[in-house]
């Protein structure tokens, strides 16, 4: 009965793909959704590639997945992936439906799937990945993810015994996944900007997971990401198999010590988030058997996609856009930290509220009290302009962060954003925006660039 139901679901889903194509509708997720509705065990029965990689984690899973896919495809490998669809069960199923024939047999040898952390229990037991990469587990939307310990528990319960794990040794939460699984760890050695003690508002790993004593950090990169040791029981961060020993922003090189052997790769981005993403991809693909030279060659032309980070210089003024991922406090704080640490003076436009929430409901803004708005109080940041429906909440948050009132502005008309900036030579403009605010981001970016082009830059 199960198999019969599966074929019915598969054919219905395949027909829906044809129907979507004929009607020119964009239902990237629909075939999988339909299949799972008709056959809840669909993922168990659908044909899968012989070799499967799953990539999960709070931050960096999309970038890491894209890198891994690009590298494998640049080597001429045909891989199935869900990069154009969603990363939940229905998205994974949609990719597999597209990759299979009418008998359900998969036509690809290798698969790379980005998997939403919360979908782990639904996906992994049926997908049975050969490798799971977990980039990190940090605080994310409280509505969906509650807290990282909850997400840890969900992933941990879903990991198959045979799966090899590629884990971030600098994250004391996700590095504890899969107690009995085979594991490869990666880490970034102490960097110049790292701190002695946790410096963010939130630290989800303040007490030892073994004995609940206060942990001591050798150094902290952000939130609870860093090297840590328990003075009471000796529990410590795992030793890394792949250790970044140098991030050379000027020479664009990333030096990795791989169990004693040292290699340098082209640095794709010097943002610490992206260094972790690149390192995760290196650890995975090296473990899979790619040579250092093959990896370095494949990484040479790579760039981080423009929708997340973009730089432009018009009339001598640099404009930088950076996705800050609203509802995700560590991501926002890290972006704020990088802005304050960037050289020179800056002006910041903030568009980090959740667009969808503000249409249907009223956004839960508690996350802004987890975000280190205090970083925007740095003296190099000469003004912060906040846009959107939650602008007053953010304004209040920034007052509580002791940012002088004369540096704070609310722009209640998006079309007038260009009027709120000063366009001073040597002062960069940062546009920080939320994942679902891309139309607003484009609008704001357009207004600022247009003003710069019209006036020739400095005013």
């Amino acid at each position: 009965m199960g198999k019969l139901r599966f074929y019915f679901a598969l054919w219905a889903a395949k027909l829906s793909i044809v129907a979507l194509r004929v009607t020119k509708r964009n239902g990237t997720n629909f075939p999988g959704k339909l299949a799972v509705k008709l056959c809840p065990d669909f993922l168990k029965y659908i044909g899968k590639p012989g070799f499967i990689i799953a990539i999960t984690g709070t931050n960096g899973k999309t970038t890491t997945s894209n890198m891994v896919c690009d590298i494998l495809e640049s080597r001429g490998e045909r891989i199935i992936h869900n990069r154009m669809g969603s990363n939940i069960l229905s998205g994974v199923c949609t990719s597999l439906i597209r990759a299979s024939g009418f008998t359900g047999k998969c036509r690809y040898g290798k698969g790379v799937f980005e998997v939403d952390e919360r979908s782990s229990l639904l996906v992994y037991p049926s997908l049975q990945p050969d490798y799971i990469v977990c980039t990190n587990l940090v605080r994310d939307s409280c509505r969906r993810n509650a807290h990282p310990h909850y997400i840890f528990d969900i992933i941990n319960r879903g990991i198959p015994k045979k799966t090899k794990l590629i884990l971030n040794a600098d994250d004391m939460i996700s590095s504890r996944l899969g107690k009995d699984n085979e594991k490869v760890y990666y880490s970034i050695d102490r960097l110049p900007g790292d701190k002695e003690r946790p410096f963010n508002i939130i630290n989800d790993m303040a007490v030892c997971p073994e004995c609940h004593s206060h942990l001591e950090y050798d150094y902290v990169r952000y939130n609870h990401i860093g090297r840590v040791c328990c003075p009471a029981c000796g529990h410590t961060s795992p030793r890394a198999d792949f250790l970044v020993t140098e991030v050379d922003g000027a020479g664009k090189g990333l030096t990795v010590n791989e169990n004693g052997d040292v290699y340098t790769y082209p640095l794709i981005s010097d943002s610490v988030f992206h260094v972790y993403d690149q390192l995760a991809a290196i650890a995975l693909l090296r473990t899979m058997g790619l040579t250092n030279d093959e990896l370095a060659d494949a990484m040479k032309p790579m760039k981080i996609v423009g929708s997340r980070y973009r730089e432009d210089v018009v009339g001598g003024i640099k404009v930088i856009s950076h996705m800050a991922k609203g509802q995700n406090a560590p991501a926002c704080s890290t972006v704020f930290d990088s802005v304050r640490n960037a050289a020179g003076e800056k002006e910041v436009v903030l568009a980090i509220e959740d667009l969808h929430d503000n249409i249907e409901t009223s956004e839960n803004i508690s996350f802004i009290y987890d975000v280190d708005f205090e970083f925007l109080g740095d003296d190099s940041i000469k003004r912060v302009v906040v846009v959107g429906k939650r602008a007053k909440d953010m304004y209040l948050r920034m007052l509580l962060a002791d940012i002088p009132e004369d540096r704070l502005f609310i722009c209640s008309d998006d079309d007038k954003i260009a009027d709120y900036l000063t366009y001073t030579k040597g002062r960069d403009i940062y546009l920080l925006y939320e994942l679902y605010q891309i139309p607003l981001y484009k609008k704001l970016w357009g207004h600022i660039i247009r003003r710069l082009k019209e006036t020739g830059g400095e005013q």
């Binding site: 409280c142 509650a146 310990h149 609940h212 409901t361 508690s366 009290y369």
Partner: protein
Amino acid sequence: MKFEMLFPEVANLFGDPFNVRYLARSVPECEVIKTGLNETPRFMTGDVDLIYMGPMPEYAQELAIDRLKPCKDRINELIDKGTVFLITGNALEIFGKAIENEDGTRIECLGLFDTVAKRKMMKRYNGLFLGSFEDMKITGFKTQFAHSFGKNGEGLFKVIRGDGLCPGAEFEGFKRNNFFATYLIGPLLILNPEFAGYILKLLGTDSKPAFNDVAMEAYRERLGEFERPNIEYYS
């Protein structure tokens, strides 16, 4: 003035420690005592003006229960004496009778209030809340795995829209004297500057909440949204 935060190294979810930071910012002189899991609470050895505990991961609830069980009589005494307690998010559950898991296991809590929290770990509850307290309208957010059932002391916020302690309940949260416990996060006091003013009065100060004008503007705007008939309360 002395404010004691209990177990802030774990009881710190959803920005809620800012409840205390906001109060501290509102009074001229104030000491904020952060009591860790391995320390004896200051209220055991002396008087403090306010005791705060915020939302935490589920494993931490058990640690907090373990640490507070020996303090139960003193907490009762302080409640009777009129000490101000502000307990937010799932920290509320610790003061009830028990927390029940879906597999039937049960965690015995302090039993100061007659409620039992029932967790549904794969069904996170999120929503808005609109209620009243005296002549104030109260707004807040809920994000939790459990609801609390059973008789409680005095209800805290009368439900206008959204769910109270459990679906169908008349009140959100519970109180006894100056002990206030609520599932509402936000942080509650920043979202509701009038209620923050009420707490400040209980603490014996005439100080207004910090940045009161800006906070009131944000509050009015949110209240307007929460009162809109077509707004989605559950998500």
